[in-house]
């Protein structure tokens, strides 16, 4: 058994990490901190955990040394306190965006301020197992993944690996997202009468996660646009791209299969029957799956690549627990077996 604690456990991602660790056979959830909810029971903030744990939120400075420390603080906080945080555990997983980008200039470009712990940036491995499994097994520090970036990365990875993309053409990724991406702090924009049923263009251009996509796929002409729709959990990335002349559907099957056939959490969903023929985020709620699909118009070389995930799972807490499993030498799937619900 190992011990794990969570710094910043009152948010949605921190709550998911707690849910997963409480059911993990090889982990004991030692402490969960929250400055705003000190002394309250976990289930006061995460009602699904009622009856599952008697743990109460403690303050960060009460964190005892443990084997793995999950950090789920608001953006910018981890980089301010990384020295103190990393002293508490030999292994650290930060779910925030603070240590995802290797290039400090890119960080300043996308996040509008210079990085506060530049010497730590290269001590982190980017936490997407489908891209960095080997390094993650040896890593001491792993960064979380951006949810929209993850859906985009997994949608485009087969095309990049098989070198099928026409580099002269832009890649447009139109991403549909749910309300839980905004976290649990309320605003007029998330006020139910305003948010319910919305089809809201949220970030038409310049979305921050573009930095991660450029870094992880080595692309320079990828453009993300986000639309919030009637959904709580879930991301569907629709990647519009142009392939090299003569590319066929069979080439795509070969590319997607070779990239994903051994991946425990990626399923190829391109079906001729049923009503779930392409990736559908709603049936992934709570699961760590990324469903990937595609179509091609061979006449024009235009292709659409699709990826659906649960932003709180494969896009955050699920990948973080997957990272812990890799770091600690556990089977990568342990604690992440929930397959999702249908109907939901």
């Amino acid at each position: 058994m190992i011990t794990a604690s969570i710094i910043g456990g009152s948010g949605y991602a921190g709550g998911e990490v707690a849910r997963l660790l409480l059911a993990h056979p090889s982990v004991e959830l030692a402490q969960v901190t929250s400055e705003s909810h000190v002394g309250e029971y976990l289930y006061n903030v995460h009602p699904n955990l009622r009856g599952r744990t008697k743990l109460q939120f403690t303050t960060p400075d009460q964190i005892a040394p443990c084997d793995v420390l999950f950090v789920a603080l608001p953006h910018g906080e981890a980089q301010k306190r990384i020295d103190a945080l990393s002293a508490r555990a030999p292994r650290l997983i930060d779910l925030s965006a603070d240590f995802r980008l290797r290039d400090l200039a890119a960080y300043e470009k996308w996040y509008g301020e210079p990085h506060r712990a530049p010497n730590w940036v290269n001590k982190f491995v980017y936490g997407l197992p489908e891209l960095h499994r080997a390094e993650m097994r040896e890593a001491k520090n792993i960064s979380g993944v951006g949810c929209n970036a993850t859906a985009t990365n997994l949608a485009l990875l087969p095309l990049v690996r098989a070198n099928l993309l026409d580099a002269t053409r832009p890649i447009i990724v139109d991403i549909k997202v749910g309300s839980s991406e905004g976290g649990n702090s309320p605003s007029l924009a998330s006020h139910h009468p305003e948010r319910s049923g919305a089809v809201r263009t949220f970030s038409a251009v310049g979305h921050r996660h573009t930095g991660e996509v450029e870094q992880e796929l080595g692309l320079t002409n990828v453009h993300l646009s986000i639309t919030s729709i009637e959904m709580v959990r879930g991301v569907l990335a629709t990647a519009h791209c142009f392939l090299k002349a003569g590319t066929t559907e069979k080439d795509l099957w070969r590319a997607y299969r070779s990239t994903y056939k051994d991946e425990p959490f990626v399923r190829i969903v391109k079906d001729k029957t049923g009503i779930y023929r392409y990736p559908e985020p709603k049936i992934l709620s709570g699961s760590n799956y990324a469903d990937v699909g595609f179509e091609i118009d061979e006449a024009t070389g235009r292709a659409v690549s699709l990826c659906a995930i649960d932003n709180l799972m494969k896009g955050a807490a699920g990948s973080a627990v997957q990272a812990m499993n890799l770091m600690c030498g556990f089977d990568e799937r342990v604690g992440l077996e929930f397959p999702g619900l249908h109907p939901i």
């Binding site: 002394g39 309250e40 029971y41 006061n44 008697k54």
Partner: protein
């Protein structure tokens, strides 16, 4: 040390109660004040009603 919640009679055990300390009843969520450490005694702490409702 053990005492019952004055609101819902839940059994509450505290290993190091401190007089004046505010705790939350695990069953009904009422805020309770430790009014005596040994024997342990708990009273309802004044709790302003949060806004709650549509």
């Amino acid at each position: 040390m053990q005492a019952n919640c004055p609101e819902c009679e839940a059994e509450i055990t505290l290993d190091k109660p401190m007089r004046g300390e505010i705790i939350v009843c695990p069953d009904c969520g009422a805020e309770l004040e430790v009014t005596s450490e040994n024997p342990l005694a708990l009273d309802l702490a004044p709790q302003e009603e949060e806004d709650w409702g549509e």
